[in-house]
């Protein structure tokens, strides 16, 4: 059982292991009947029941997802490369460079496992590739988490007036898709005296605010210290960094949306279409894990503006709020204002009983 039960999500391209599985219970029955077959059913990966197709016959060797993909694309590209070189008279330097970059980007590893040099290399490639495509220069960093930093956030419910300046600032700062009007932050307008009723709250109001008899509460990714979204990702494209930020490698994400389903706080957003930002509105100060341009079919979310916060700045929402309802800081610094809030105000978090340990507290004056 233990052997068959390795990560149930593995694609098992080579299809070499199963089959003997049937005899593990010894009842002679191959499908149920003795009661000892439940495990089997659960552990067989999707696709196990199929016959080998053409692809698997060719690559009938033990191989992980990357290698298989690599080999397959390599052969395709060699073919394509042969065609282009033979056809184009002027295969200019630029398109060669572009092809080289695309090639290397295609086969890079998971950012989470990269060395600092590799991180820098991919960032340089992305910057160069953007330059080649648009003739514009961006600056992108791969700044790592600093020691002795754990980011935390506090939100003052009695101060928020529902202006949504934070939402606008976030969209601009983080290059969010203008077509689908993606927004990481939601401001929920709630009725006074009825507690926190998210199903009855309105997060897309348009009238003068603050409205009589209402209060406002903002949500976004809470950067849980025990993030359920991270646990479910089948390819480890999302993880918790040392400074507590929960981040996504947009180039490693396969768009399965498990994390979205696992998040109890509606913290994640999915790109159903290719995200688009007018060229003159693109924020060119970027971080690999933060606001760099995303593509269709990947997950994204608030990163506490990693491109700003790792430089000591506040996230864009904190800076944009005209009421000072948003407080951000280093939880490990006993003299920080966020620590003062946690120690002196009556703070609470959403769904605390889940044990997700969000690093996002609410408080009142």
């Amino acid at each position: 059982m233990s052997e068959n039960n390795t990560k149930w999500f593995s694609l098992n391209l080579s299809n070499s292991k199963p089959k003997q599985q049937a005899s593990t219970c010894g009842c002679g029955n191959t499908s149920g009947g003795c009661g000892g077959h439940q495990n089997e059913i659960r552990s067989s990966a999707i696709g196990d029941e199929r016959h080998k197709d053409g692809f698997e016959q060719v690559f009938d060797v033990q191989m992980d997802r990357r290698t298989a993909f690599k080999k397959l694309t390599a052969s395709l590209l060699i073919g394509a490369g042969a065609v282009t070189t033979s056809c184009s008279v002027v295969a200019d330097e630029k398109s060669k460079e572009k092809a080289q970059i695309d090639w290397e980007e295609q086969f890079k590893g998971n950012y989470k496992l990269m060395s600092d040099e590799e991180k820098k290399a991919t960032v340089d490639r992305l910057v160069r590739s953007y330059e080649l495509r648009t003739n514009k220069t961006i600056s992108m960093t791969s700044e790592n988490a600093q020691e002795n930093v754990l980011f935390g956030y506090a939100f003052n419910i009695s101060k928020c007036q529902g202006y949504m300046d934070c939402v606008s600032a976030c969209v601009e700062e983080n290059n969010q898709d203008r077509n689908s009007e993606m927004q990481y932050i939601r401001i929920h307008e709630m009725k006074d005296g009825q507690g926190l009723k998210f199903d009855e709250a309105d997060d897309n109001y348009y009238h003068e605010v603050p409205a009589e008899g209402h209060f406002y509460l903002g949500t976004q990714c809470f950067h849980c210290d025990n993030p359920p979204c991270v646990d479910v990702c089948p390819v480890q494209a999302t993880w918790r960094e040392e400074d507590g930020l929960v981040v996504i490698d947009y180039d490693w994400c396969v768009g399965c949306r498990y994390c979205m389903a696992a998040c109890p706080y509606d913290g994640r957003r999915f790109n159903w279409s290719k995200p688009e930002v007018p060229e003159d509105e693109v924020n060119k100060n970027q971080h690999y894990l933060g606001n760099r341009m995303r593509k269709k079919g990947v997950m994204e979310k608030c990163t506490f503006c990693v491109q700003r916060s790792r430089k000591g700045q506040n996230p864009a929402c904190v800076d944009a709020c005209p009421t000072g309802a948003r407080i951000f800081g280093n939880l490990l610094d006993p003299n920080s204002t966020i620590r003062w809030v946690l120690e002196n105000k009556k703070v609470f978090r959403l769904k605390e009983d889940l044990g997700t340990e969000p690093k996002f507290w609410y408080f009142m004056d």
Binding site: G324, L332, W340
Partner: protein, 214 residues
């Protein structure tokens, strides 16, 4: 009997092994996030991140209040017509009778508490317009105007010095710089106005109408 005992202890051993390996979160060293924060910040030695270069161009003053030391923006340089004594050569009382054309400060309407509690000279010194005045008549510098506010708004003052009230300037990293009261509140009309939100999400509206989202 002996055999039973043997099986039992083996079982226990396996169980213990299983438990010790099944803890996959290294965070579970601590009972809760709060414990972890407390424990890991005991020997806090600071970080390499500083806001100094970002704050360099701003004119800031260091203040010490309630055991906290932080920077606030200086005020006098921001006031258009400071020093007031450049116009106010005579004490206020002798000016009340003058009725020539539009008065200076005509646009200042006091919407702060009520007439019983406040008028101009609750905060402005009658004899020296370059200074503010406390309730007991001591002079307060314009740069320290928060000392005026804190006479009544004691709870807000405490929250402000601690960092729960008021906005920080530039970032979270030290040195701490916070806005002072008058950077966000107009002292003559301190409450925030109602206004329209800065955006409305038409896509969200559409999706909800079509029932695509809950």
């Amino acid at each position: 009997m002996n055999n039973n005992c043997y099986t039992y202890s083996i079982g226990c051993l396996i169980m213990a092994l299983f438990l010790s390996f099944s803890c996959k979160h290294k965070e579970s060293k601590y009972h809760s996030l709060t414990d972890k924060i407390e424990e890991e910040s005991k020997d806090f030695i600071g970080t390499d991140i500083s806001l100094e270069t970002l704050l360099e161009e701003m004119k800031l003053l260091e203040i010490h209040e309630e055991g906290h030391a932080f920077l606030i923006p200086e005020r006098k340089g921001q006031l258009k017509s400071y020093a007031c004594s450049e116009c106010h050569t005579k004490p206020l009382a002798s000016m009340t009778s003058l009725e020539i054309g539009k008065k200076a400060h005509w646009n200042v309407k006091l919407a702060h508490a009520d007439n019983l509690t406040m008028n101009c000279i609750t905060c402005h010194s009658e004899s020296n317009l370059d200074e503010l005045t406390s309730l007991t008549g001591s002079e307060i510098d314009f740069d320290a105007s928060y000392k005026l506010c804190s006479q009544c708004h004691t709870a807000q003052f405490k929250d402000w010095t601690g960092g729960a009230h008021g906005k920080k300037i530039a970032g979270w990293a030290p040195p701490r710089a916070s806005m002072t009261c008058v950077n966000c509140h107009n002292p003559h009309s301190p409450s925030f106005d109602t206004r329209w939100p800065s955006r409305f999400n038409t896509q969200m509206e559409k999706e909800r109408k079509e029932g695509l989202s809950h």
